[in-house]
């Protein structure tokens, strides 16, 4: 096999899949390495996507089918990397060694561990779940914590995001709109339930996001309360009581809920640390990989031949991730064309 | 002339007699009821006006011109005018001529109601008199006139656009019954009179038809049923009239003298309001005129439907229609009867009961009075001008340039003229605000109150009692300054300016010329397709309570389109609300007249 056409893509989420697909169509031989047992990353555990309620399948299926002929290594991680003049030699687990002139890192993010926000009682109270749990429930309908006929459901925005004490100063970018999406979905399933969203700021920057918000307010009657939940307590009947300040009226508010959904944020993937040191690419203070710059070369690293795609450099939406994957693939193409 | 019957009666007149008596009794009862519903003062004013020669003459003239000749309709559309006046005037003439016949030939039968109507049945012509020939000719002539009108009416039912109407009302069941019976009356009369023409005489229409019919109809047995049919058609029409749009015929004759007597709508349903509602002929001219018709969903919210719903007592719809209206007053302007749609709606709004009633006694006028200077011109910017600081700045700049000394009554806002509350039908609150503002104005010692907002101007000019203080809108005031040479305005002959009449200033206060003159001083005045009395509301009006922002958009776009008919370089208006409403959607500059004059001086 010609080593110079071989490109290693690390991470089998949507970023890695799209990057591999683009590399393939640009005439390279991408090798897609995924640490888990299946492709799709975090997106695969989701149900529907904002802002059009697109089923996840509609995104993943075309990606998966277009990867035909691409070598995919599942349950595999990078052990070490060394660089010679012309190429990188990557040692993978299970003894596989790959030589390639360029690498695309698409290792993505980690969902904030909601348990760390002890005051919300995730993992302790029976009726507290995360956004991911809720999506899983949408998919499978199985979660003992979701009651049959809830009369009140709450959403806590910014769980682990914009929170210095949780170690994450950055905004996770997608939780506001995800919370609204999930709130609407919950309201659709339980029309009788009052739905409360507790937010610090609503950051609805994308196309159609604001329409989603207006829809949630006007048509679904979801209550938006500007104030961060300070503490959650379990009541004797198993429900939870949430305390926050309604900062717009300057009064503390309390509400008893049948279900509380924590919007776990996007935090850096700790797997990046190892990869970054092997490839000698620097990390940002927030733990995400550092792009060459944050405007012009987001998908490029400081190292020649090492490119980034998606949320390994910071929180992003799916369309942004896909665009970056395409950008990274094109970056590889231009980089190697220049070398020839 | 001899009577054909030995006894001056035949049973076929019964349907007519019954119908006619019913209508007469109904109307008489109605008149009494309405008179009772008026306040004592109104009633006195109304009855006095009937005997006062000047108003009495005006009443007769107005009734003749409007009810019979439909002068206003002629102005709107000649076809429409001809159609209505041919039927109304023709019918009126036939009735008059019938009475003339009876009075001339059988004066002792005048007391029989049906004699003038069925004259040709009861009276046969034995000798040809010149008088008879002329009368018969006139009878046939006016019948022909009516029939032409009926034919036009039928055409209008299918092709209303020929008559300048895009949309017409959908008739109710009884309206349809009334309509068809009305249509039937005159062909049936023609038939009846034709069948009996060889006995009773006739003229150019009936005699030839009689000759034709007699060619194939052997005996005279057929003529009685047609007279029956004619009477029945009349009877039906009369009987349903009180419950149809045709009630407008008697009601309008009440409306005109009441209006001439200066009555105002005091109760949402009773008295004058009732006459207004009944006077609506249901023609639907207001549908096209209504700016809300820019959206299909609003087509049934114009005045004609308000009147219909009030007659039906459909409260939810009455409330919906009343609250949606922009109160631009265009329906009244185009209505040939002059039904005052906005006033009627305001009266409905005033019915509402509120759990929270505003009081302004905590507002201390002294705080405002203390801040006033001693200038003779007092400028009240008003809420809307405060939202358009460019206009306020220009007004002050023009005043400075013209060397007018002024003080500002509401430098930091905080005072409302009361017109918005009035438009919500809340008289008590309006009166309180008027009292408050009046006390400040009077304490200022000014002799001129200057307004830059037509909404304020209208209430200050029409509802405030300011004892000799001149209330003037800035468009008028600035035009004066320009004419007096105190404000030197440079005219740009290349600049095409379309002037938009704000509803409150134009239709509301009748000010059309001064702003145009002022605009002409700065550029070339071009007109919108509809202008002056017929200008189209910008859609921003405070008159509407329920129309939401997004639903006003189409109204604004339609009005903008109208303003751009003359390809202007800019739209000039004299209202801060129009200016900012247009500003949201216009692709050419929209300026207040103050801003225009300020920039050109």
């Amino acid at each position: 096999m010609e080593n110079k056409d071989q490109i290693l893509v690390i991470g089998g989420g949507v970023a890695g899949m799209e990057a591999a697909r683009q590399l393939k169509s640009l005439g390279f031989k991408p090798i897609l390495v995924e640490k888990g047992p299946a492709l799709g990353g975090h997106v695969a555990s989701w149900n529907r996507l904002f802002p059009d309620m697109t089923p996840v399948r509609k995104v993943l299926d075309p990606l998966t089918s277009s990867l035909e002929g691409v070598e995919v290594l599942l349950d595999t991680t990078v052990e070490s990397v060394s660089r010679s003049q012309r190429e990188y030699t990557v040692v993978l687990t299970r003894g596989r060694v790959i030589k390639c002139p360029a690498i695309i890192i698409a290792t993505g993010f980690k969902l904030f561990e909601a348990r760390k926000k002890e005051e919300y009682g995730y993992g302790i109270y029976d009726r507290v779940i995360t956004n991911k749990d809720l999506e899983n429930w949408f998919n499978t309908g199985e979660d003992g914590r979701v009651p049959d006929r809830p009369s009140a459901v709450g959403f806590v925005h910014c769980v682990g995001s914009r929170d210095i004490k949780a170690g994450n100063q950055q905004c996770s970018k997608v939780c506001c709109i995800t919370a609204i999406k999930q709130a609407i979905e919950v309201k659709e399933r339980f029309p009788q339930a009052e739905v409360y969203c507790f937010y610090m700021d609503l950051r609805l920057f994308g196309k159609k996001y604001e329409d989603f918000y207006i829809n949630a307010q006007r048509d679904c009657g979801i209550h938006f309360i500007r104030g961060r939940v300070s503490e959650v307590a379990e009541l004797i009947d198993g429900r939870v009581q949430v305390k926050a300040e309604d900062t717009l009226s300057g009064r503390p508010v309390k509400v008893k809920l049948d279900l509380l959904v924590l919007m776990s944020g996007i935090v850096c993937n700790p797997a990046n640390n190892h990869l970054a040191s092997e490839l000698s690419v620097p990390l940002d203070e927030d733990g995400f990989l550092r792009s060459r710059d944050n405007i012009f070369s987001v998908t490029e690293s400081d190292r020649p031949g090492v490119f980034f795609a998606g949320t390994c450099t910071g929180p992003k939406t799916i369309p942004e991730t896909l665009s970056e994957a395409r950008g990274a693939a094109l970056g590889v193409y231009n980089y190697l064309k220049g070398k020839k | 002339m001899i009577e054909r019957m030995s006894f001056p009666f035949h049973p076929f007149v019964l349907p007519f007699l019954i119908g006619m008596s019913f209508v007469l009794i109904y109307c008489l009862y109605g008149i009494v009821k309405i008179l009772v519903q008026l306040t004592r003062d109104e009633r006195r004013r109304f009855l006095l006006s009937l005997i006062k020669p000047s108003t009495a003459w005006k009443n007769i003239k107005d009734i003749f011109l409007n009810c019979l000749l439909h002068v206003k309709l002629w102005k709107r559309n000649r076809m429409l005018g001809f159609m209505h006046s041919s039927i109304a005037f023709g019918w009126f003439m036939i009735i008059v001529l019938g009475h003339v016949e009876v009075m001339l030939f059988l004066p002792d039968r005048v007391h029989l109601l049906y004699y003038p109507i069925f004259f040709n049945f009861f009276v046969a012509e034995t000798e040809s008199t010149i008088g008879g020939a002329v009368l018969f000719f006139l009878m046939d002539f006016f019948l022909l006139v009516i029939l032409t009108g009926i034919v036009l009416a039928m055409v209008k039912r299918v092709r209303s656009r020929i008559f300048g109407m895009r949309r017409t009302t959908r008739a109710s069941f009884l309206d349809t019954v009334g309509l068809y019976s009305l249509w039937a009356i005159f062909p049936l009369r023609l038939l009846s009179e034709s069948f009996t023409a060889h006995i009773s005489g006739g003229s150019f229409l009936t005699v030839p038809m009689n000759w034709i019919f007699r060619q194939f109809l052997g005996n005279d047995l057929y003529y009685l049923p047609t007279w029956w049919a004619y009477s029945i058609a009349l009877g039906i029409f009369m009987a349903v009239l009180p419950f149809t749009r045709y009630m407008h015929i008697p009601a309008e004759m009440m409306l005109i003298p009441m209006r001439n007597a200066g009555l105002r709508i005091m109760h949402p349903r009773k008295g004058f309001a009732r006459v207004q509602v009944l006077s609506c002929p249901g023609c639907g001219v207001c549908i096209d005129a209504c700016p809300m018709s820019a959206r299909k969903e609003n087509l049934k919210d114009c005045t004609v439907y308000l009147n219909r719903q009030i007659r039906r007592g459909n409260e939810p719809r009455i409330e919906e229609i009343s609250d949606k209206c922009l109160l631009c007053g265009k329906c009244t302007e185009v209505c040939q009867v002059g039904v005052d749609g906005p006033a009627l709606r305001l009266a409905q709004r005033s019915m509402r009961k509120y759990g929270i009633n505003q009081h302004y006694n905590i507002i201390d006028p002294e705080g405002y009075i203390g801040a006033l200077g001693s200038a003779k011109v007092l400028y009240f910017a008003g809420c809307m001008t405060h939202l358009t600081p460019g206009i306020k700045k220009s007004v002050l700049s023009v005043l400075d340039k013209a060397g007018v000394r002024y003080s500002v009554m509401d430098p930091d806002g905080g005072l409302c003229c009361g017109r918005p509350m009035m438009m919500a039908g809340r008289w008590e609150q309006t009166r309180e605000l008027i009292r408050l503002n009046t006390s400040i104005i009077k304490a200022s010692g000014c002799d001129t109150l200057l307004l830059s907002c037509p909404i304020c101007y209208r209430i200050f000019a029409q509802k405030y009692r300011l004892d000799g203080i001149r209330v003037v809108h800035h468009s008028v005031f600035f035009n004066e300054l320009s004419r007096q040479g105190r404000l030197a305005v440079k005219r740009d002959p290349e600049l095409r300016l379309a002037y938009h009449d704000p509803c409150e200033l134009g239709r509301g206060c009748g000010i059309y010329d001064e702003p145009r003159e002022a605009v002409s001083a700065a550029g070339v005045l071009v007109e919108g397709e509809k202008n002056r009395e017929e200008s189209i509301c910008c859609g921003g009006s405070l008159g509407s309570i329920t129309l939401s922002y997004e639903k006003r958009r189409d109204i604004t776009l339609k009005s903008l389109m109208n303003m751009k008919a003359g390809s202007p370089d800019a739209i000039i208006t004299a209202c801060p609300l129009c200016s900012s409403t247009f500003g949201h959607y216009s692709d050419i500059p929209v300026k207040d007249i103050a801003e225009l004059l300020d920039s050109k001086s």
Partner: protein, 356 residues
């Protein structure tokens, strides 16, 4: 409630507590509120469990109350604390154990401040030298006395004569644990189990057979709040906080409240009386209140000391129903006897709250 979730958190907040050789500093107010508690802490540790605990007659207040009432600046409080450290250093100890939660918080805060701002520590050393010619070493380990009892809970359990179990039903007693605010809310890692689910008291309760109940307002302050109580006009506010806690725990029908702070047991105890007078409301069964004990008193009961020797008679809410449940024998007539076993006097009984 998922118990494993709590255990996971507890495992995150473990604290190193040396087994022996402590320099003990007493609380200012406990000695008058519940004088037997500190006595029995020393007695249990020294006599029963054979630990070396030293205390000096020269130690003073830590300045915490004055500091939290905004009457002295922190630097003054630091100098006072530095003197305590000097006493400890002079006595040859390096582990400091405090009786008072506010002292514990005060010491912790000062040590953490010095860690961040060493220049402040240098200045305080200078102050101390100037004022009393003393020098000090900072304690190697700082613990609250309840930490120590937590550490020794199993040894106490092994010697227990009674357990926190209802004698009649065999059911574990329902125990509300109330942790003093200054224990771990400022520095969660300095407390056993952290700030959200501290296990210092719940660990004792469970080791001695009880069952801890988790009620919504468990985190809430007892209401003392220093200034809030000390200014009479604010006392309603202080009591309202306590009221809120009782309202919240009421549906769980707790048998006893245990606390590790000087102020908390006092206010949780006394306000029950005031609330009963003002609102006519009591929280225990049949018009009784909920007994509020210090952890030392609880340890003493478990170990079989006489309730009246433990000073339970100075509580407003009568402990008798609790003693009955645990099957602890007591002599009702000896309740108000002095140390000389002679009756002092019998206090008047409240109108609403039943106190046996």
């Amino acid at each position: 409630m998922i118990y494993q979730g709590k255990q996971k958190i507890w495992s995150d907040y473990q604290k190193e507590i040396p087994d022996n050789h402590w320099f003990y500093v007493r609380s200012c107010i406990r000695q008058s509120f519940f004088p037997a508690s500190e006595h029995y802490f020393l007695k249990i540790c020294r006599d029963l469990l054979d630990r070396d605990i030293y205390e000096s007659a020269h130690h003073t207040t830590c300045g915490g109350i004055a500091y939290h009432c905004d009457t002295i600046p922190q630097e003054t409080a630091m100098t006072i604390v530095a003197r305590q450290f000097a006493l400890m250093t002079e006595a040859g100890y390096e582990n400091l154990v405090t009786s008072c939660i506010t002292s514990f918080g005060n010491y912790t805060e000062i040590l953490e401040t010095w860690r961040e701002f060493p220049e402040l520590e240098a200045r305080v050393r200078e102050h101390l030298w100037k004022s009393c010619r003393r020098e000090f070493r900072k304690p190697v380990y700082l613990a609250h006395a309840s930490d120590l009892v937590y550490k020794l809970r199993d040894e106490i359990a092994a010697r227990a004569r009674f357990s926190l179990v209802d004698k009649e039903t065999g059911e574990p007693l329902k125990i509300v644990e109330h942790i003093g605010c200054h224990y771990s809310k400022m520095f969660p890692h300095k407390g056993v189990g952290g700030a959200e689910y501290p296990c210092v008291l719940s660990g004792m309760a469970e080791a001695w057979g009880g069952k801890v109940i988790d009620y919504p307002e468990r985190r809430h302050c007892c209401g003392f709040g220093f200034r809030q109580y000390l200014v009479k006009a604010n006392r309603g506010y202080s009591m309202s906080n306590t009221y809120k806690k009782f309202e919240s725990m009421e549906p769980y029908h707790p048998d006893v409240i245990i606390t590790n702070c000087p102020g908390c047991p006092f206010f949780l105890d006394r306000w029950q009386y005031v609330i009963s007078e003002q609102e006519g409301k009591t929280y225990g069964p049949d018009g009784h209140g909920i007994p509020v004990l210090t952890y030392e008193e609880l340890a003493g009961l478990v170990l079989g000391f006489d309730p009246w020797d433990l000073g339970l008679q100075v509580h407003q809410v009568g402990p008798e129903p609790l003693l009955d449940k645990m099957g602890i024998p007591y002599d009702p007539s000896a309740k108000y006897n002095g140390l000389d076993r002679k009756k002092l006097m019998t206090p008047g009984l409240p109108a609403v709250l039943k106190c046996c």
